[in-house]
């Protein structure tokens, strides 16, 4: 296995073109190195992108632009993220343990596209778009068209994720991310659920977005639940109906972490809880 470090996005994409499927981008390496050790991937060349300027950091002026090399630790502590999308900070703070968060990046998390990727659901409810740069230039992929299958994204093999953009954060909007795992850290999500609500002054739901991870081959928006909540005033019947819609929309599996039945079982209660937090934040105008 070869290792090379790219100095610019252009150099990195040129290397991707040169090595084709043998190439593997290396950011924090918390997925790549394990997959390599387990024989799940067999990269011929690791292209390290950690030295490329401009790919790290969070900037905002209306919309928020997140560099793909931003670590989970920085996300979890970012004032800008905590003010506009606290669900994302919450998700980042649950990735593995401190060591994982200090090294793992958001770009790696979404490009690895595990069904359990913690940052995915909060990004989906925030309406994030993904900026991909390749030999043919830069393009933007919106929301859930980025995650197209288990460990599959819309990214072409010669493209690099160069930014994640969260659109302008509307007034009276709040979000929340809840993760179910056996322990308080070092857990791959048994279920992860993000909710975002925009409330009218009288408490009517103007906009509702729900997304979940570890319940299907990809992180997914749950449109059926969103529609039920839209226009409601969060009556317990509406929340219960949304919870039911949620359980119908997902297709979880049995694995070593939990059964499909357990995953389905927790969803309604989890949704109610997430909506409660999101609504409170919306009232306070945070997140």
């Amino acid at each position: 296995m070869e290792f090379t470090s790219a100095a610019s996005v252009e150099e990195a994409t040129a290397l991707l073109v040169e090595y084709g499927t043998a190439a593997q981008i290396l950011a924090g390496g918390t997925d790549v190195m394990l997959q390599q050790a387990r024989g799940e991937i067999s990269a011929g060349v690791l292209i390290h992108i950690g030295r490329i300027p401009g790919l790290v950091g969070i900037t905002g002026n209306g919309s928020v632009r997140i560099g793909p090399l931003t670590t989970h630790r920085s996300l979890a502590r970012s004032r800008l993220v905590l003010m506009t999308a606290p669900a994302l900070a919450e998700a980042a703070a649950t990735v593995g343990g401190w060591q994982t968060q200090a090294v793992g990046t958001i770009g790696g998390n979404v490009c690895n596209a595990s069904p359990a990727a913690d940052t995915a659901a909060p990004l989906l409810v925030a309406g994030a778009s993904f900026e991909l740069t390749g030999p043919r230039g830069t393009r933007t992929v919106v929301g859930d068209s980025f995650f197209i299958g288990r460990r599959q994204t819309a990214r072409a093999t010669d493209e690099i994720l160069t930014a994640i953009v969260l659109p302008h954060h509307p007034e009276r909007t709040g979000d929340a991310y809840l993760k179910v795992g056996r322990r308080s850290a070092m857990e791959v999500a048994v279920v992860g659920l993000a909710a975002r609500l925009t409330l009218d002054v009288d408490g009517t739901v103007e906009g509702a977005r729900i997304a979940a991870c570890s319940v299907a081959p990809t992180p997914m928006r749950i449109a059926e639940a969103e529609e039920i909540l839209q226009g409601s005033r969060m009556e317990s019947e509406a929340i219960a109906a949304a919870g039911e819609a949620l359980t119908r929309a997902v297709s979880p599996i049995d694995d070593a972490r939990a059964t499909a039945a357990y995953r389905t079982r927790v969803l309604p209660g989890l949704l109610a809880r997430a909506l409660g937090v999101a609504a409170a934040r919306a009232e306070r105008g945070v997140g």
Binding site: G97, V180, R182, R183, S184, A185, M186, V188, A256, R257, A258, T259, A261, Y262, R265, V266, G269, L270, A272, R273
Partner: protein, 762 residues
């Protein structure tokens, strides 16, 4: 006043361990060492058709590939001689060694091991306890009847897949069940638990001049010597075992692991051979705590007297007897627990299955037996409408209680002190209040392992005291603190002046290993015996130097002085120096083993472990909260009242309690090795196998009860093993209380919690 005992002295081995300077078993390497890797069976049961080694042997850097054909055709085992080194014709569990590759590097050995082609015809798999005793069940060992116990052990009842069976019956149990006011029956199950020490198993061996030297990071070096010798068919004196720092064992490193393989391969290769398990093979092949099924039935009167009990236990020995057959005996001591029961029947069986052999893990079978007993005790109290704590205190044993083996517990009223001590800190009625909260209580009696130990003390001219012992420091501080502080106390010197040895079976007398909380208790006692002789020589020599009578002297602060004239002194170093050419170096040896308590050896059949020496008493209380949405359990408070006799090093004891409770929480809530129908584990890495993490473990509030016992050094009894024993019981009782439902298996899953919540709503 003591100079050392009762103080939280700092460990000498802490600094090098923190700095990474301590050499552990996995670090140790002899120059010119080769590296060996085992080829293990990928399936749980099958007949070996062929083992094709030539392409592995052809890999550059490979020195040899060994199979059953290269090993002596011998069966051996801790209790029963039923296990070959390498599987020859049948494999009985996933992970069973079939061959070994010795190469210049580990990488080459691993690559070559992958080229050993093993052709196995699959056979039916006995994957569960119920399958093992089902009518017509395949026999895991077709030749079981030809097996013999290991030397020194009488045979015991066994047949087919039942490799051990302990039976006790006081008579009249069934009569009570047909007449008692209330009869309650419960069935509990517990999964396996992996010891998950930080340092995987390892061994380095060299063969020279007809003897094997094994470098081990092990709990029980003399057992490594004896078991390696048995596996190779040689005398124990042909094997020397040298100890190194070890990164934990928790019971898994009491029996041999890789040592006999390293020894055999070193002889075959004519060079030192080092072996280290990788984490996955360590987990899959480890002698984990056995899974079990426990059936408990009791007949009680309406006012809460326990008239009769039946306690039926099936434990999974795995593919070989290991030490699990011994553990059936523990059921005799837990069937009644710390409560009075009029009539009792106990049957505990160890069963063969096609799974990795199980074995000792801190608290052994006591953990799940007490889980069953104490869950059942809650059910009895609840059925009678009695408070669960009151019910226990009402039935608690008093001083002079006679156990089922006829042994009398002189001090068993100490249990009541433990109930009181917790209540003073955290009154029972105040705990577990509020929605989704609950409180659990569990009480236990536990033992201190009686195995022998010995020590030689050497007083040196520089004033230091050499403590020469084969006792193993497993990391608890039993040697580094316990033995050292007792030795320092005996001579009235600074503990920093004590120099400890590492175990060496050539140089030291027998030691029964780091097990069952025995080391400080037993070896400390041996130190006291030795110190008596040492003082005699010191006083004799000092008397000459001070021109006094030997009986007019005392030792304080590293000096010998005249009692009547404290200004007339000589240092211990001067005494040792003077003795050097006047009688020779000042040394003295001492030995100790706990005398077996009086008991009736025929009380039960198949009782391989007949007494419960140096008992200690324990009460644990847990307060939990359950999440009604996710079923997660949060432990809010955890309290321990533990009888320790005397805390030689209070910080060390507290550390053992915090650690034992933490492992117990893992057992209760997260850790499991589930066995699939194919006999293979479902959890196959530390990602899937969930150990407790700091965030989920509360700071344990421990109360040390000190009632010094004559037998222990300065009254110290065993302290390190028992804190894990009641934990699963206390947690399960708390979760049952919080949910209002029933909790019948370990670990308690979120699904179990949600089911319990739902069932209580119905």
């Amino acid at each position: 006043m003591t100079v050392s005992v009762g103080r939280s002295v700092v460990r000498q081995d802490a600094d090098p361990k923190v700095r990474g300077q301590a050499v552990f078993g996995v670090d140790f390497e002899l120059s010119g060492s080769l590296h060996a890797v085992l080829v293990r069976s990928p399936i749980a049961s099958g007949r070996i058709r062929s083992v094709e080694t030539s392409s592995a042997a052809a890999v550059p850097g490979v020195r040899l590939v060994a199979t059953a054909a290269d090993a002596p055709r011998i069966l051996s085992g801790l209790a029963l001689a039923d296990q070959p080194l390498f599987a020859g014709d049948v494999v009985r569990y996933e992970g069973e060694p079939i061959a070994a590759v010795v190469a210049d590097t580990v990488t080459i050995a691993r690559a070559a091991a992958a080229r050993v082609v093993v052709d196995i015809e699959p056979l039916p798999v006995v994957a569960s306890l119920s399958a093992a005793v089902a009518p017509g069940a395949p026999l895991v060992h077709a030749d079981w009847s030809t097996y013999r116990p290991s030397p020194g052990l009488p045979d015991w009842p066994r047949h087919d897949n039942v490799v051990g069976e302990m039976r006790f019956d006081s008579g009249g149990v069934d009569d009570v069940f047909s007449t008692a006011d209330v009869v309650i029956e419960d069935v509990y199950t517990a999964d396996r638990q992996y010891q998950a020490y930080l340092e995987p198993k390892s061994a380095t061996a060299v063969y020279e001049a007809g003897r094997y030297t094994i470098h081990a990071a092990h709990q029980y070096h003399f057992n490594v010597r004896d078991r390696t010798a048995a596996a190779l068919g040689i005398l124990p004196s042909r094997v020397r075992v040298i100890g190194h720092h070890m990164g934990g064992g928790f019971g898994a490193k009491l029996d041999v692991g890789l040592e006999p393989y390293a020894a055999l391969l070193a002889r075959l290769a004519g060079a030192p051979v080092k072996m280290v398990n990788d984490r996955v093979e360590d987990l899959l092949s480890c002698n984990s705590r056995e899974n079990a099924i426990i059936r408990v039935r009791s007949g009680v009167t309406r006012n809460g007297r326990i008239l009769a009990r039946e306690f039926l236990v099936d434990m999974d020995a795995g593919a070989y007897a290991g030490d699990t057959v011994f553990l059936t005996s523990i059921a005799l001591f837990v069937a009644e627990g710390p409560y009075s029961v009029d009539r009792t029947r106990v049957v505990a069986r160890a069963l063969y299955t096609n799974t990795a052999p199980t074995g000792a893990f801190r608290g052994v079978s006591g953990t799940y037996l007490y889980f069953a007993l104490e869950r059942h005790t809650d059910n009895l109290a609840n059925a009678l409408g009695m408070d669960r704590r009151d019910f226990r205190i009402r039935n608690a044993i008093d001083a002079g209680h006679t156990m089922l083996n006829g042994q009398v517990l002189e001090d068993s009223d100490l249990l009541r002190a433990a109930f009181d001590a917790i209540d003073e800190v955290a009154p029972w009625e105040t705990l577990g209040r509020g929605p989704n909260r609950g409180v659990g209580i569990a009480a236990t009696v536990w033992l201190t392992n009686p195995m022998p130990g010995a020590v030689t003390l050497r007083l040196e001219p520089d004033g230091s005291l050499g403590v020469v012992t084969g006792a193993a420091e497993i990391g608890t501080g039993a040697v580094a603190l316990g033995v050292r502080q007792v030795a320092a106390e005996e001579l009235g010197i600074d503990p920093d002046l004590v120099v400890l040895t590492m175990p060496d079976t050539d140089a030291h007398a027998y030691d029964g290993g780091a097990q069952g909380s025995r080391t400080t208790h037993i070896v400390g006692r041996a130190v006291q015996h030795a110190a008596a002789g040492l003082r005699e020589r010191i006083f004799g020599q000092a008397a000459k130097l001070l021109d006094s009578g030997a009986d007019e002297l005392e030792i304080t602060d590293g000096r010998v002085r005249m009692v009547s004239d404290p200004q007339r002194t000589v240092t211990l170093g001067q005494v040792a120096g003077a003795a050097m050419f006047d009688g020779g170096p000042i040394i003295s040896s001492g030995s100790y083993a706990t005398p077996a308590p009086k008991h009736d050896p025929d009380a039960a059949t198949g009782l391989l472990f007949a007494t419960f020496p140096t008992p200690t008493y324990h009460v644990h209380v847990a307060e939990v909260e359950v999440d009604p949405v996710t079923g997660r359990v949060t432990v809010l408070r955890y309290l321990v009242a533990q009888e320790v006799g005397r805390a030689i090093n209070p910080a060390g004891v507290m550390g053992q309690i915090q650690g034992g409770v933490t492992q117990g929480l893992g057992y209760a809530l997260w850790e499991t090795l589930q066995i699939g129908d194919d006999g293979r584990y479902r959890q196959r890495s530390l990602e899937a196998y969930k150990l407790p993490i700091a965030l989920d473990v509360p700071r344990v509030e421990a109360i040390l009860l000190e009632h010094p016992a004559d037998a222990g050094p300065y009254g110290a009894k065993g302290v390190a093993e028992p804190p894990i024993v009641p934990v699963a019981a206390a947690i399960a009782n708390a979760v049952a209380d919080a949910t209002g439902g029933s909790i019948v298996r370990l670990p308690i899953t979120p699904d179990d919690v949600l089911n319990a919540l739902e069932s209580s709503k119905e």
